[in-house]
Amino acid sequence: MSDATTMVRRNFRHTLRNPGAMIMTIALPVVLLLLFVGVFGGALTAGLGTATQGRGYIDYLVAGILLMTVGYGATTTAMAVNRDMTAGIIARFRTMAISRASVLTGHVVGSTVRTLVSAVLVVAVALLLGFRPGGDPLRWLGAFGILALLTLALTWLGVAVGLAAKTAEGTAPFTFAVQLLPFLSSAFVSPDAMSGAVRWFAAHEPFTPIIDALRGLLLGTPVAGYGLVAVGWCVGLALAGYFWARALFRRDPR
């Protein structure tokens, strides 16, 4: 346990030392939020029709931006794990009598905390911009829970991708996926407004139920069946990421 604590401390130091990671996980989602509210907000509200349920576009948008925040965080983790692998520091750790997985635990805990901090920051900026959550504290707690679970899931996937990639460029497909998939979901516009195949895809990909559940919990609107589907996807992705990462880490290094 103390080895994992040491590795978490190392990870926090890295975050402070690496301004790029800070910008990626904290500033970028805020910029995206400003961009969508300020530039596209007006036009998109008109397009959303009844999906906004008489609220402002920002109320619709926050759940999607939170998901983007988690995605950026996981991307940063994938690159950090990959750097540790290729720079040889993980090889050093492996020849030491320490808890084997502690270095991965350090990444996961560090990244989760970093992501949740930026999520809080995103919500704070959104509040300043006029975001008005509905519901009650219990529902907000539920929203936080889903967000934390999603963060854990994408972070473990990020760790596995970082271990699997031979170079930093090798993590690009993952980056691409977590940044593109939100656009093909209910994050920015309702899938009902999309065309044919895209609509089908958006309705069935994992990010849509997760965002819908998050949005429902934040705004106090009915969550319906989304909640369970969202939790199911998060747990499934988390387990897949965890076991994939574990198998890669147990393998003899190249």
Binding site: T6, R10, H14, R17, I89, R92, R94, T95, M96, A97
Partner: protein
Amino acid sequence: MDSVAPAIAVTGLRKSFGDHVVLDGFDLDVPAGTTFALLGPNGAGKTTAVRILSTLIRPDGGQARIAGHDLAAEPDAVRAAIGVTGQFSAVDDLLTGEENLVLMADLHHLDRAEGRRRVAELLGRFDLTDASAKLASTYSGGMRRRLDLAMTLVGDPRVIFLDEPTTGLDPRSRRTMWQIIRELVAGGVTIFLTTQYLEEADELADRIAVLDHGEIVAAGTAKELKRSVPGGHVRLRFRDVADLDVAARAFGEGRRDDETVTLQVPGDGGVRALRAVLDRLEGAGIDPEELSVHTPDLDDVFFALTGHITAKETAR
């Protein structure tokens, strides 16, 4: 008796990557408190040997005991006893030199006071005190290598693996590294180092094994290895070919080279052999322009054993 039990004992180690056999029945013993050099060209299997013996990868076959612990059965006991400094420095670029060492102290569970004392001592000993607050990414090659080794020493390992510790370093940094390694041995540590530099093995190692295509083709002290190959001779250079003719007749043996006007007479370079050469020159009534004694070096050894040469040093 710790000094009698070998620090490293290896029998029949084998490793292949796909069809490529990297280590083919690798045996060796390294007595505790000595320095062992594994010498070979690039691709001979040196790094693979270090990666296996330091628990990083598993062998396909064979056994090894490090500091009295079985490599396969008790990897964690082996890890607790060893330190590894790889060919490419495994330091954390996003941490300062001091933070790197503190990280190692924390992972070795030293208490704060003990950890700080140890870190300060190592920074001083490796001449890194002034740079301790700078990020490791700003360090020069020599500094990185020193930091890397300092990190290895935080845990007080009894057996240290050094994989090409001076490759890529300038001559001055190399000398510093050699000095550090000698001091470690003086402190009772066992060193297993790999190198492609003959001079380095000669300078540092008590025993040397020559590795070629995954097999140890010769092992012994530098002296034994040199003795095992012919090649000692006295080289005489003359004013002209006429003198060379006279000398060649006088000696009756040796290798003459008309182009350089030289004669190579076999001999071990000892005083007695040298006197015999001088006596014979005097008897023939000729004076060579130049006389030089050539003892076989590890280059000759390597060439004689493997039929090809090692990497030559260029950074002299």
